[in-house]
Amino acid sequence: MENRLIVSPSPHAHIDDSVAKIMWAVSLALLPAGAAGVYFFGLKALWIIILGIVSAVATEIILQKLSKSKITVSDGSAFLTGLLLAYNLPPGVPFWVPIVGSFFAIFIGKFVFGGLGKNIFNPALAGRAFLMASWPSLMTTFVKPFGYKYDAITSATPLAALKEGKVMEHISNLNLFFGNRPGCIGEVCVLALLAGAVFLLIKGYISWHIPFSFIGTVGFFTCVFGAKGLFNGDWLFHILSGGLILGAFYMATDYVTSPLTRKGQIIFGIGCGLITGVIRLWGGYPEGVCYAILIMNAATPLIDRYVRPRIYGTK
């Protein structure tokens, strides 16, 4: 018996979860939102999603091959990055956009920082920011839902309309909730996004701290400053439109780029909410979720440094 005894340090027990399991669970939770996107924007949206994923996974394999490191695509993180990048694209973009975006997300957003777990910025959002800076008109041209049935009819998003001082009367909060509005592929259907989020919350893979403080802050901020006079803003409109729900539940919660402690996460969420509110109401862009998260990503090491749990037996 002796020569087959295993000697290893304690503990000798381990939970069942793995990083791969969590990543795939997040991808699964995003499935309904993608399906809704395809429903509203047609098969082209599906192709964009597939190309985003394939490009991200292929980029990761090639980079890991070139750097002679272990191939780790089975952990699902590149898949998820590609998926999220595609969800953040307008449904009318040319097919090379998701390919270039995912390549950037994996190569510059993740690989050059040292790879898995070492990136400072959310890779999918880094990819989106790159596309936004390089091809702003492609990234801000949106189409109407079901437009694919006729000729693609371009339309402003509700937030962009608001920025120009127009209100899209025909889009009710209910339409916003179900996703019947122009927008990015994966962000429009709030209902589907929330269903996935509930699944992740129940599984314990995400916690309420970041999304609730993020969304709550956006709601509060836009209510206070969103219209003439204080406390007259249409906060519900702001919560339901743009990429807030997608960003708050699926991207701001990215483990690698958000704080470790619950307290730090609340600070992170409030920071994201404030920056989003400022950009939306007073900034040059109609939407600020992407930049808000990226800026708070940069603040994460600082938050971790100063917001630590109190060590037992110390004041």
Partner: protein, 426 residues
């Protein structure tokens, strides 16, 4: 704190059984925190059960070692040791007679009542009693606090999964433990006594509540969560007070004693019996008949294992529980004073995990019962930045292992922190 899968069902209802005496015992000369003892016997000597066979002259912290069978000393040599790898041990060939050493007389209650605190400490010292919850700190020192304590906490939490030796002792030896508590209370001059038991031991709770009815002792039922039985967690959860960094329980007016230790104190004082046997839980999915065994110190693990039978060969033999126990390289290691269990795991429970990148999920941070940032300590260790490891609290680690347990990336964080504790310049 985290609720773990308890796995106590294997043995929690199995009454303590006496293990048939082994042919050979290997009694290590170090089974305590402090200096190793020197052998007081030679090869060829005949020793009695309970005879002192190891001690040292010096004032150094130590505890005596006693023969756990009567018979002939065959060798004094290095032998596998469950904690230290190898250590010097006295090998005794059992003559099967269990002849007791001279002068072992039971003490009547009146006699015990007349003992002073110092008398009790001396008896406990002579009997070689050490803390049986794991640390093996010599008990006579712990019974001599620099000032009187407010609260005496009797630790019956037994929060390690699988283990039931303390639990069975509490059920079967309730009255004896109460008598032992009385002795401890006298030594530490405690004003109040709290017996702490996890809620997963309803029978022990019931027995103790009955036993303390009408006395000033109190039973405190605690949530079954790991590491509830740690000294720091116990004082925090029972008294609402933390032991300040670098201090001892005495400093906040409390003393914590494990139930098995208290029982050993009872036996030392009332039965004049040195610590030469203890209850060991032999358990795990590989064991045919998991049991709680009363085994002599120095009995090899393989003797206990073969008495319980195997369903299949284990791939891991652990001295202690799954969270803090030590994996053994041989089944020839002997039971020592701190061996509360032998856990045998098969392939399924030992599937080796490959460490992957840290996703910064924060599980370790939330699980840590003392408020550390294990993943950041691990990163500091990888860069050999010991100052940074210290900054994130490495020196405060109680080594409970929860951070490694909850890590979805299979990083052995507690291992890394233990290393940092050794490397951080004093």
């Amino acid at each position: 704190m985290v609720r773990l899968e308890e796995n106590k069902k294997f043995t929690e209802n199995r009454p303590i059984e006496k293990l048939p005496l082994p042919k050979l015992v290997y009694v290590p000369l170090i089974q305590h925190l402090g200096k190793p003892c020197e052998a007081e016997v030679k090869v060829g000597d005949v020793v009695m059960l309970g005879q002192r066979i190891g001690s040292i002259e010096a004032k150094a912290v130590h505890s005596h070692i006693h023969a756990s069978v009567s018979g002939k000393v065959l060798a004094i040599d290095n032998w596998p040791h469950p904690v230290l790898g190898t250590a010097k041990a006295v090998v005794i060939e059992n003559d099967g007679k269990d002849q007791k050493a001279q002068g072992t007389v039971l003490r009547a209650q009146e006699e015990v009542d007349r003992l002073t605190a110092q008398d009790i400490r001396d008896i406990v010292f002579e009997a070689g009693v050490v803390g049986m919850g794991g640390a093996s700190f010599p008990t006579h020192i712990k019974l001599n606090p620099p000032k009187s304590v407010e609260t005496l906490i009797i630790n019956g939490a037994e929060c390690e999964p699988y283990l039931t030796s303390d639990s069975r002792l509490m059920i079967e030896k309730t009255a004896e433990i109460i008598k032992g508590i009385e002795l401890v209370k006298k030594c530490v001059r405690a004003k109040e006594v709290i017996i702490a038991i996890e809620e997963n031991k309803p029978e022990a709770i019931k027995d103790f509540e009955k036993a303390v009815a009408g006395t000033e002792y109190r039973v405190r039922v605690l949530e079954s969560a790991y590491p509830q039985g740690g000294e720091k967690q116990l004082t925090q959860n029972i008294l609402g007070k933390e032991i300040p960094r670098g201090k001892l329980p005495f400093d906040i007016g409390t003393s914590v004693q494990n139930v098995a230790t208290v029982f050993a104190i009872y036996e030392a004082v009332y039965l004049a019996k040195p610590l030469y046997e203890r209850v060991v839980t032999v358990t795990g999915p590989c064991v045919a008949n998991p049991k709680n065994l009363l085994a002599r110190i120095g009995t090899q693990f393989k003797d206990l294992i073969s008495f319980c039978g195997l369903k299949q060969d284990p791939i891991k033999i652990i001295s202690g529980g799954p969270m803090m126990g030590i994996a053994q390289y041989t089944d020839q290691v002997p039971v020592i004073k701190s061996t509360n269990g032998i856990l045998l795991l098969d392939q399924e429970q030992t599937s080796s995990f490959t460490e992957v990148f840290c996703s910064r999920c924060g599980n370790c941070v939330r699980a840590c019962p003392v408020g550390l940032l294990p993943t950041l300590i691990n990163l500091s260790c990888k860069k050999k930045n010991w100052q940074s490891a210290k900054f994130y609290g490495a020196l405060d680690c109680i080594e409970c292992g929860l951070c490694s347990y909850v890590c979805p990336s299979n990083i052995n964080l507690v291992q890394s922190i233990k290393r940092a504790k050794m490397e951080i310049p004093k």
